[in-house]
C-alpha cells in the first residue's frame, strides 16, 4: 500500500512526468485514432436510422461524448485544484489549467451539435430547457476560470486563486443547476446512458456510442498530456531565461 502511494505521487515531479508523458503520448495517440475512427465509422455508417428522428439521430455519437466530457472535465479540474491546494504538486495545477480550455471546447461543441440536432427534432436551435441552461452555466464558469489565467502571470499565488475560483465555481454551478431544475423539467430526453438497463437506448446504438465515448476520453487524455508537456516546457524556458538574466 505504501509503495503504491509513493509511486503515484512520483508523477507529481515535473521531470518524471515529462519522461513518462513522452513515452506514452504516441501510444495514446494511436489508440485514440483507432477507437475514434472505429466508433465514428460504425456509428455514422453502420447503424440503422431511427424511425422517428431519421438520420439526424447519428449526431448522438458526437453530442453525447462531448457533453459527457464537458461535465467530467470540470470535475477533473476541481479534483486537480484540490490536490494542488492540499499537496502543492505543480503538475496537478498545470493539469487543471490545461484541461480548462479543452473543457471549454467540449462544452461549445456539445452545445453546437445539440443545436444542430435540436433544429430538425424540436424545431429550434436553442431553448431555455434546464439541461441546455446548465450547459450555458457550465460555459460561464469555464470562461471565468480561463480568464483568471488569461489576465495574470503564472505564479503559485495565481494557482491558489484559480483553485479557489474553481471550487467556488463548482459549488455555485451545482446550485444554479438545481435552481434551474427546481422550476421545470424541460424537453430534453433523459440521460442516454445509465446503469439500469431499461432506460437505455437500443443496442444497435449502445456499443458504437460506448466506443465513441472511450475514443473521446482518450482524445482528451492525449490532448491534456500534450498541453501539460508544453506548459512544463514553457515554465522551464522561463526559469532558464530568468537564470540567464540573473
Amino acid at each position: 500500500m505504501i509503495k503504491f502511494r509513493k509511486n503515484i505521487w512520483e508523477f507529481a515531479n515535473p521531470n518524471n512526468f515529462l519522461s513518462i508523458a513522452n513515452k506514452i503520448i504516441p501510444f495514446f495517440l494511436i489508440l485514440t485514432i483507432i477507437t475514434l475512427s472505429l466508433g465514428l465509422v460504425w456509428g455514422l455508417f453502420f447503424t440503422p436510422e431511427d424511425y422517428r428522428q431519421g438520420s439526424s439521430v447519428k449526431i448522438i455519437f458526437i453530442h453525447v461524448p462531448t457533453a459527457f466530457l464537458a461535465i467530467n472535465i470540470y470535475f477533473m479540474m476541481l479534483l486537480a485544484s484540490i490536490i494542488w491546494l492540499i499537496r502543492r504538486h505543480h503538475v496537478s495545477l498545470i493539469a487543471a489549467k490545461s484541461a480548462a480550455l479543452i473543457g471549454l471546447i467540449m462544452t461549445l461543441s456539445a452545445m453546437l451539435t445539440g443545436a444542430i440536432w435540436g433544429k430538425p427534432i424540436w424545431g429550434t436551435y436553442w431553448a431555455w430547457d434546464p439541461r441546455l441552461t446548465s450547459f450555458a452555466i457550465l460555459l460561464m464558469f469555464y470562461l471565468g476560470y480561463l480568464s483568471i489565467w488569461q489576465t495574470m502571470k503564472f505564479s503559485d499565488k495565481i494557482g491558489d486563486l484559480s483553485s479557489w475560483l474553481c471550487i467556488v465555481g463548482s459549488i455555485f454551478a451545482l446550485l444554479s443547476r438545481y435552481a434551474v431544475f427546481f422550476w421545470n423539467q424541460g424537453l430534453h430526453q433523459g440521460p442516454s446512458l445509465s446503469l439500469d438497463k431499461e432506460e437505455n437506448i437500443d443496442n444497435a446504438f449502445y456499443f458504437p456510442l460506448i466506443i465513441c465515448i472511450i475514443g473521446f476520453v482518450l482524445l482528451f487524455l492525449t490532448l491534456l498530456l500534450i498541453r501539460i508537456k508544453t506548459e512544463i516546457q514553457k515554465r522551464k524556458i522561463n526559469i532558464l531565461l530568468n537564470a540567464r538574466d540573473g
Partner: protein, 211 residues
C-alpha cells in the same frame, strides 16, 4: 525577555529569499537589519509579524517556540510597514480614534511623542508626506507592545522628527522592550548595544522543481 531566531529561511513564490539566518536579541536591544534592496529586509519583518509562514527554522520568544503561532505574535509584536495605513478622507483625529478602536488603547496626548497636536484637525490628504509618516508612527504609542518591528521608519522624516523617533525608541529600550528596524542608516549611533543583522542573498539556490 529574549527573542531568538535559529537558522530561519523563507520562501516566496517558490524562491528562497534568505536562508540560515540566526540572531539573538535581548530586552533593551535595538536590532538593525541591513542589506541591499531585495535582500529580504521587509520579508524578515513580515515573517516575524506573522504574515508569512516560516519555511525552515525556529523563532522563539522567552524560550517558547512561537514559529507560526499567530496568537502569541499578536500579543507581543507590533509591525509598521512601508505604508502608513491612512485613509485619505479622515482627519488626523478621526484616524487616531479609529486605531484606538482597533487596539482598545488610547494615544497619550500629554507626552505626544510625535507632535501631532497641531495637525489634529487636518485631513490626511492635506498632510505632507512627513506628517503622514508621523501620523503613521503614532500607532506606536497607541499600542504599546514589547517587540516593535519597523520597516524604514525614517522615510521622509526631517531631522527633528527622527530625533523624536530616537527618543521614543530609547524610552522603549529603557522599559526593556525590543525593537527591530529595517533601515539603511543606524540612527541610534554611539551605542554599543545595537545589534546589526546583515542579510545576504542565499548562496545555494534550491533547485526549482521544473528544472
Amino acid at each position: 525577555m529574549n527573542l531568538i531566531g535559529s537558522s530561519l529561511s523563507c520562501k516566496r513564490d517558490g524562491k528562497l529569499i534568505f536562508s540560515d539566518l540566526s540572531f539573538k536579541i535581548k530586552s533593551g536591544d535595538v536590532c538593525f537589519i541591513k542589506g541591499p534592496n531585495g535582500s529580504g529586509k521587509s520579508t524578515l519583518l513580515r515573517l516575524l509579524a506573522g504574515f508569512i509562514k516560516v519555511w525552515t527554522g525556529k523563532v522563539s520568544l522567552n524560550n517558547e517556540d512561537i514559529t507560526n503561532r499567530n496568537d502569541i505574535i499578536y500579543n507581543n509584536f507590533f509591525y509598521i510597514g512601508h505604508s502608513n495605513s491612512l485613509k485619505n478622507y479622515l482627519t488626523v483625529k478621526q484616524q487616531i480614534d479609529f486605531w484606538e478602536g482597533i487596539s482598545e488603547k488610547k494615544y497619550n496626548f500629554e507626552s505626544d511623542s510625535f507632535n501631532l497636536k497641531k495637525i489634529l484637525n487636518r485631513r490626511i490628504y492635506e498632510c505632507s508626506e512627513g506628517q503622514k509618516r508621523r501620523v503613521g508612527l503614532s500607532r506606536l504609542s497607541i499600542d504599546d507592545k514589547k517587540v516593535l518591528l519597523l520597516d524604514e521608519p525614517t522615510t521622509s522624516l526631517d531631522i527633528e522628527n527622527v530625533s523624536r523617533l530616537k527618543n521614543y525608541l530609547k524610552d522603549h529600550q529603557k522599559k526593556g522592550g525590543i525593537a527591530i528596524v529595517a533601515s539603511h542608516e543606524t540612527f541610534i549611533s554611539s551605542n554599543n548595544q545595537d545589534i546589526i543583522l546583515t542579510l545576504n542573498p542565499p548562496k545555494n539556490r534550491e533547485r526549482d522543481p521544473f528544472l
